[in-house]
């Protein structure tokens, strides 16, 4: 039981990170019906920004401000930075293609992805950066119930991703921009006729989606892996996967999809062969998609009559 609990905790934290990335895909898909394949690289830039914010505040070994403040600044800078990057990407790579085929933005997104990756390689140098979390947050700090342990970083990531998801839900449901976004997702032409400034809403969508990816990038640095220019590919893919199994375009779906993916990965590694864990994960996902072809919460595809 403890073992299962521990693996569930592992899976949920990982899933929280996936969910934040998935939200970016799903938000953009909701308003524009395009797959933003540069999203994983936005996540990478977020991780770098968080790292540089940390170095700016004295670095992991000698922070010049209290650790909590440093973490706050890291998240804020990363989220603001990636949010702005999201707006810029939309302006240059997607807006010119808004009325073209659906497949063209896929390739311009790919171009942006190559540009971001290699731009980062050029400017940030190829060294893998480590957040070195254990220097300022001791690994022994945490809670344990019986055999079950959860350390403070993992708990923090879990809580923060939950908070961000709640805030996002409130934003989508409660604010004017959020409502406009849903209106556009439902019927773009009607939304335009109702006087909704589509450009503005799309800018906001990209900002919010990218900022969430930025936060996920910092979480990755704090908890999971080192930061390098090529780190975005796989999390980007996982985020995309999570968004689709959740039902692309659905905000709660992306959250559920992310968590589900994280838990499946953890359990596959924890109970079955680690060697075949990825194979098993993908086969499970295929099976799932066959039984629910539109994801967990996806609407069936509209068929024109």
């Amino acid at each position: 039981m403890d073992y299962l609990g521990q693996q569930l905790i592992n899976g949920l934290t990982l899933g929280g990170v996936y969910a934040l990335i998935a939200l970016g895909y799903t938000l953009v898909y909701g308003v524009l019906q395009i797959l933003n394949f540069a999203h994983g690289d936005v996540y990478m830039i977020g991780a770098f920004l968080g790292f540089f914010a940390m170095t700016w505040l004295g670095g992991p070994l000698a922070p010049t401000v209290p650790v909590a403040l440093m973490l706050l600044v890291m998240f804020l800078i990363a989220m603001m930075g990636t949010g702005l990057l999201g707006i810029v990407i939309e302006r240059f790579a997607y807006r010119p293609l808004r009325n073209s085929t659906r497949i063209a933005p896929l390739i311009s997104a790919l171009g942006v992805s190559i540009l971001l990756q290699n731009g980062a390689l050029l400017i940030f140098s190829p060294s893998i950066r480590s957040y070195d979390t254990s220097s300022y947050i001791p690994s022994t700090l945490g809670f344990s119930v019986g055999e079950l342990t959860i350390d403070s970083v993992r708990l923090g990531v879990l809580v923060l991703s939950a908070v961000l998801m709640i805030l996002l839900t409130k934003w989508v449901n409660g604010t004017q921009v959020g409502r406009a976004m849903r209106a556009i997702a439902y019927d773009k032409d009607a939304a335009v006729m109702m006087g909704i400034d589509v450009d503005r809403v799309i800018r906001w969508t990209f900002f919010v989606g990218a900022a969430l990816a930025g936060a996920a990038g910092v979480m990755n640095g704090l908890l999971l892996r080192g930061v390098s220019s090529g780190m975005g590919l796989i999390p980007g893919l996982k985020g995309f996967t999570a968004a689709v199994i959740g039902g692309i375009g659905s905000v709660p779906g992306a959250m559920l999809g992310g968590l589900l993916l994280g838990v499946i990965e953890s359990l596959a590694q924890g109970y079955l062969s680690t060697n075949f864990a990825d194979t098993i994960t993908f086969i499970l996902l295929i099976t799932f998609m066959l039984f629910r072809p539109n994801g967990i919460l996806g609407r069936p595809m509209m068929v024109k009559v």
Binding site: A104, T279, F282, I283
Partner: protein, 475 residues
């Protein structure tokens, strides 16, 4: 006229007008008969094969031919039938690994080529059929992700199958050699003729590409070809019109898979080794870029796209070619943006003046200059070395220029026309500075940056691809 939505009645009504307003060059190109265009390509390929003995160029030619096969295949799946198959490259890998396992010491099998290749190709076709079965339930992006999963299952399975353990056995079983890959494969041996030279593969592939080109061209004009396109345009209507959508889609899927599997066996024989990381997402992405760049649904587009995505990255390995491309693109951009030749000259002169001003300013504030021999790469550096001030700390200044350039371009896109004229020379200078200070010295990264920029720019300029037709799209 340009602000009409594609597909609206007015747009359709202006079809003739648009044809009439085409540039003379385009009309001339349209007048060249089809066989002559294709013939010239194959003639060049033939002459090259006859005349060249350069192993490297021949190998690039072989790579190109394999890539053309892959883009032809994917073009049937995506371009004709409209199925977004993100696991396509797994069929290529399956073909290659299939050949490898039956022609190496890995399993101790050495089947004759004339058996292995057809056998594996047919096996790939069957695999394609099996995978298309569950995929029938799915549409659009959901189908895309399931095919992506299938592709990943293949990669992960090959990676993991070097270490299969059974509860009853003490030792593990190694089938695919995992990340180690399988080296030392037999090269092709067709009835005693051993393919021991890259040129043998070159000729073989040339014939295959020629046959495929003719075959696909013929098929696309038949009932099946028309059915594919109607399904792509509107599955519902074609179903109503009596086309069996499922059958037509399956056929396209299987045809694509078969071509990829066949290409895979040839690749394995030519390379005489297989490694799984060659059949993963990066290749997938390149094939997609090729067919969409060329124009999805167009055979010529798939060919041109394959040529661009194979030849350009090789050309860009040479700094001078990269430099030519960069400066020509820069001048062309300025030429197009300036609209008038006199204005273009003013821009160029201003850039030159900014260069001298920059030199004075840097010397005035006492920045150390780098030695020319430290930064000059290729002929452009030689030409510019007395004009361009290159600071000693090239990394720092290069990074600064990189960020400045991006900000200037971003600012340019939202600036008022007057400001645009002021900004342009500065953008030009920053770009040249960045190029000489940082980019040209780092060919490999720059190569990728150029490819990325090219994809974005080409898509924006021509969303339908080079040979694609603007189509009415139904969501």
């Amino acid at each position: 006229m340009s602000n009409l939505g594609i597909g609206t009645d007015e747009w359709v009504a202006q079809h003739e007008e648009r044809l009439a307003s085409q540039s003379p060059l385009k009309k001339l190109f349209a007048r060249i008969p089809l066989w002559a265009k294709w013939g010239s390509f194959f003639l060049i390929a033939f002459l090259f094969g006859m005349l060249s003995d350069n192993q490297y160029l021949l190998r690039v030619g072989v790579n190109l031919a394999l890539f053309i096969m892959l883009s032809y295949g994917l073009n049937i799946v995506v371009g004709y039938a409209g199925i977004l198959d993100l696991g396509y490259v797994a069929f290529y890998g399956f073909g290659a690994y299939g050949y490898a396992l039956l022609s190496s010491e890995q399993l101790g099998q050495h089947w004759p080529t004339y058996v292995t290749v057809p056998f594996i190709t047919i096996l790939t076709a069957i695999l394609g059929y099996l995978i298309s079965l569950p995929s029938r339930r799915l549409f659009g992006d959901y189908l895309a992700i399931v095919t992506l999963f299938f592709g990943q299952v293949f990669v992960q399975l090959v990676l993991a199958s070097d270490n299969i353990t059974f509860p009853w056995a003490d030792d593990y079983v190694d089938i695919t050699a995992g990340s180690n890959g399988i080296p030392g494969l037999d090269t092709f041996n067709l009835f005693g003729y051993i393919f021991d030279d890259i040129k043998d593969y070159y000729w073989l592939l040339m014939v295959i590409v020629l046959v495929l080109t003719v075959a696909i061209h013929r098929v696309s004009a038949t009932r099946i070809g028309r059915a594919w396109r109607t399904v792509r345009e509107d599955a519902l209507v074609s179903e109503v019109m009596g086309v069996s959508v499922k059958r037509v889609k399956t056929l396209a899927f299987v045809a694509g898979a078969t071509i990829a599997g066949f290409a895979g066996t040839i690749f394995a024989g030519m390379q005489t080794s297989v490694f799984i990381n060659g059949f993963d997402l990066p290749l997938m992405v390149m094939i997609y870029a090729a067919i969409i760049l060329g124009g999805s649904g167009s055979l010529a587009g798939a060919l041109i796209g394959a040529i661009i995505m194979t030849i350009l990255p090789e050309l860009l390995r040479v700094p001078n070619y990269g430099a030519i491309l960069f400066f020509v693109a820069l001048l062309l951009t300025f030429f197009v943006l300036s609209k008038k030749f006199s204005r273009f000259l003013i821009y160029v002169v201003s850039i030159i003046l900014i260069g001298f001003a920059f030199q004075l300013a840097m010397k005035a504030i006492g920045v150390t200059q780098a030695n020319a021999e430290d930064w000059v790469v290729g002929f452009t550096g030689d030409l510019l070395k007395n004009w361009l001030f290159v600071p000693e700390n090239r990394i720092l200044w290069g990074n600064f220029a990189f960020i400045l350039l991006l900000s200037l371009i971003a600012f340019f896109s939202i600036a008022k026309p007057i400001w645009k004229h002021v900004l342009l020379p500065f953008i030009g200078f920053t770009a040249i500075f960045l190029w000489e200070v940082r980019l040209i010295a780092d060919v490999s990264t720059t190569r990728q940056l150029i490819i990325g920029a090219m994809l974005v720019v080409l898509m924006i300029l021509r969303p339908q691809g080079l040979f694609g037709q603007t189509r009415v799209e139904i969501l």
